[in-house]
Symmetry: C2
Subunit: 108 residues, 2 copies
């Protein structure tokens, strides 16, 4: 199988700006869930709020985990109007964020 | 079900220091895989190397994804000698890292 045709995990970690309300964050997450639902190349989605079990989150409080069917599907998503919409909603609210895409491995 | 008894996803993102060789990183990942194999409360494990599809990784190049059976299991892991060993191996090699623990949600 071509490498690019393997599933790709897309992870987004967010630190929201101080003062962003829980209601606003809830609105963003709901919009994110709706967006993901509209994209057939997203095979799996989950999100979560950091529990702070270990104090090493560097301020990141939320994570969004998307699984795409291929690297091309990630590129198509990033370039889509749906992504622009959710990005425009999130951008003014984030203090910082990280995105990492990878093909999951079980062993080395 | 008590919240603390639900599965907990544990994510570790790493930016290795400049100059850390691919061989050294490979050694760390292999050790990580071995460690995870020894901990029965880890229900799932995968890792990956950032593909740089979008240039927003803030320098983070590797991710390790562990699923624990409960929050208590994460605490037990963090306090274990096995974790100390892998942490001692990794710490001098990392420029920065993030850990986030969360109970995965599919919807808001």
């Amino acid at each position: 199988m071509e490498e690019s045709k393997r599933e790709v995990n897309h992870r987004l970690l967010i630190k929201f700006k101080e003062g962003v309300t829980e209601e606003k964050i809830e609105e963003c997450i709901k919009q994110f869930c709706k967006t993901v639902d509209l994209i057939p190349s997203i095979m799996d989605f989950q999100w979560g709020k950091g529990m702070g079990i270990v104090n090493l989150n560097q301020g990141f409080t939320h994570i969004f985990e998307l699984t795409f069917e291929s690297a091309e599907a990630v590129v198509a998503y990033i370039s889509s109007p749906l992504h622009s919409e959710i990005a425009s909603l999130l951008e003014p609210l984030m203090e910082k964020f990280v995105v990492i895409d990878f093909q999951p491995q079980k062993l080395y």
